[in-house]
Amino acid sequence: MSMIHVRINGSEVADDVPPRLSLADFLRERRNLTGTHLGCEHGVCGACTVLVDGEPARSCLMLAVACDDRSVETIEGFAGDPVVAALRRTFHERHALQCGYCTPAMLITARDLILRKRAGSEREIRDGLAGNICRCTGYTNIVTAIAEAAQEIGKEAPNAQ
């Protein structure tokens, strides 16, 4: 077992974990953060995407022990985050979700695309989203929702990073 200290959604957490425990299982089973979903557990579908030190990461491929002294953001976080708030609204208005299983990770990936200014065109959004599989929507409405949120965020804070 290994002691780790992780900042999860802004709160410090200390836990003694087996070295082989994945970050996804750590979040879901030990922290009850079940908004992080497992679709393939081999890094293809992207449903388990979270932020580790601000960067999107596949929590199914990452070990909890690798997150010692780092910060993790899951869909249960982002309180007051204007980009996620905008995305939630446009996803709702544009019917960008059906079963909802890919949705938390889609929002996290989309937020990252917008903040890195990689959501300027449909092509750019589609390429940036290609690591997140959705089996329900066919993606069209997701892409539209992200483009709208990106435009809105760009207007509000043209120099946001």
């Binding site: 087996p18 082989r20 425990l21 879901r28 089973e29 009850n32 953060l33 079940t34 908004g35 992080t36 979903h37 497992l38 679709g39 393939c40 557990e41 081999h42 293809v44 579908c45 449903a47 899951t74 869909i75 249960e76 939630r88 996803f91 709702h92 208005e93 019917h95 979700l97 059906q98 079963c99 909802g100 299983y101 890919c102 949705t103 938390p104 929002l107 449909e122 092509r123 959004i125 589609r126 390429d127 989203l129 290609a130 690591g131 997140n132 599989i133 959705c134 089996r135 329900c136 929507t137 066919g138 993606y139 069209t140 409405n141 997701i142 892409v143």
Partner: protein
Amino acid sequence: MIANRYIGSPVERFEDRRFLRGKGTYVGDLSRPGLLYAAILRSPRAHGRIRSIDATAALALRGAHTIITAAQIGSQVPRIPIRLQPLPVLVPYHQPVIAERKVRYVGEPIAVVLADSAAIAEDALDLIRVDIEQLPPVPDRHAAAKAEALLFEETGTNLAIRYIAAKGDPGRVWARADYVRRERFAVQRHTAVMLEPRGVLAEWDAAHGRLTVSGASKVAFFNRRILAEQMGLAEDAIDMVENDVGGGFGVRGEFYPEDFLIPFAARFTGRPVKWIEDRREHLIAANHAREAECELKIACRYDGTIVALQGDVYVDVGAYNRTNGMVGARNIAQFLSGPYRIPDIRIEASLLLTNKTPVGTYRGPGRFEADFFRERLFDIVARDLGIDPVEFRRRNLLTAAEMPYSIATITPYEHKDAFDSGDYRLTLDRCLQEIDWAEKSKLQGKLVDGRYQGLGIGCFIEGSAAGPRENARIELESDGTVSIFVGSSAVGQGLETAFAQIAADALEIPIDRIRGVFHGSTAFVREGFGSFHSRAVVMGGSAILLAAESFKQAVRTAAARQLGCEPGAVRLVEGRLAATPDGKSVSFAELAGGGISAEESFANSRHAYSYGAHAAHVAVDPRTGGVEVVDYVAVEDVGRIINPMLLKGQMVGAVVQGLGGALLEHLVYDDEGQLMTGSLADYLLPTASDFPSIRAVVTETHPSPINPLGAKGAGEGGVVPVGGVIANAVASALAPLNVQPHELPLSPSRIWHLIETAHEMQQQLRE
């Protein structure tokens, strides 16, 4: 008549709020005190005889609790029955819930390990020693037909059943037909691959003899009946609980071995047991679909009028027939004629057993395959006859004057069916207009920037509204709001929203007076039939209409008692008040104390058929065989549109699934019956960058006459014609190279080989 406020409007979904905050609750999110985790040992061999299972080392592992094999289950290992249209001849091929003496596919359950964590359970699996005597595998339908090796020695054949779809008598036309053409086509094995894997959590309450099973979906009431019988319990001693569901598409929610094994394990150990499938497991354990070949012959007049269609279909159904494994094959046979007028038909569909994962229904079962066969055949025929492929279709499409139109009857169970309403040429014309066929078809076969351009078209029907009944209950809550309970199941399609729209209109109340729509779980209504055959909205929605009438009557009666008037004099105001003409009133909240509730059942023995047309513009790179879908238009008439936003969402999603089936997805087996595509790195699902240009157009020109909503199914049609449309577009693009695709998927390597082969043939002809 319903005062219409919400039906037909793009009402935004109620479901979104929880999903957008990570607050959806899927079965994998559930936990219980004292929980045991299950992992399932699955056969590594396609065909073999189990000699021994030694779990000594596994049980010695710290945290491993129990191992369950056929021996623990008892002398009679339960079988999984057929859900719809069962036949005695199929009984020998029903799957035992755990392998007894033989294993028949890679992935068949052999043992269940229960442990303190999923990780320990999986460690323990590795320590179980299973000795399997290998038997010669039956890897495909040709080996199945040869019958040198048999999956079920006792029946002496690998042919499970042969269905015949017949109408008229094609036998008499061949000799004197103007034109006859024979072709062979094939569709590859692929399946739904919904993003949330399957899961079951079972809790046994020994004190009261009650079982609760979470993770139910699609047909909870039917599965409860099977489980009750298998476990020797009364049906009402079992609660099946539907949680949020991460996609169904026909595959999730059928009764699988785990649907017995996990509840059994809970009763066996007296502790709650949870099993969540991993992705590799899903790809070998959940239903496969679509693998079919056909040999067809068609007779036409010189003017393109179809005279007869006859042929054989061979469907590889895998190792067992479980719950609905025959539906794909019988649908291919019955719906090969599609939306067209074909007077004489005879199609024989043979279901062949192989040592592969059993098949079941996947969105548009049999119809996707049949549409590929037929629409491809029609383009080849039209070309032969020198008739424009659009004109060929228009000449043969059914019109409103021909409704209801009887289609081929399926034997052995003598199932007769008829299309209910519609004018199938309308959706074809709309589709041509939307894609600008007149202009774009000038590009056919042209080379633009190194890629050949092609347009393809195809027409389809979508069946829906399977009976026998559906139930809905409406209840007045203490605060005066209403709750809707319905037997239909949600699988992510936005059912709560669509049903709230229907209920709000029928009750003549603002939609925010509906507290919730509760669906799927067995505790909500007396009986329910679930969500398959695009029946949820048609059947559940119609049941809600009936329940709403009874509910309003109950409210009027209760109010009349309090207000001292006749029920007929009571007017319901905005879902809040019941009032008399002279101004006296009582609020819904005050009436709620009396316990007002109405449950009704909508019964239906006929089917409602949606229909439409799709068209695609593709660009094919002859150097790589890569296909780009430049533009894609899907048009469907669904009788009555409940929510255009949800409807288009279903259509676009279904089209992209169809494009996956047409171009990418393939469950590949080797000759030993091993799945070669057991991960999402090998089994290619469409991604956001693959198919950017999909457009959905919906119409409602011909409401269904067989239900009070006028609705027809809408969830499956989008997938049905895609294989045929894309293959026709590719054929048009590559016409200058003489390429005619006969098989899916049209992967780059297949197209490249087709081009090479055509090229070599041309060369040989020249020499």
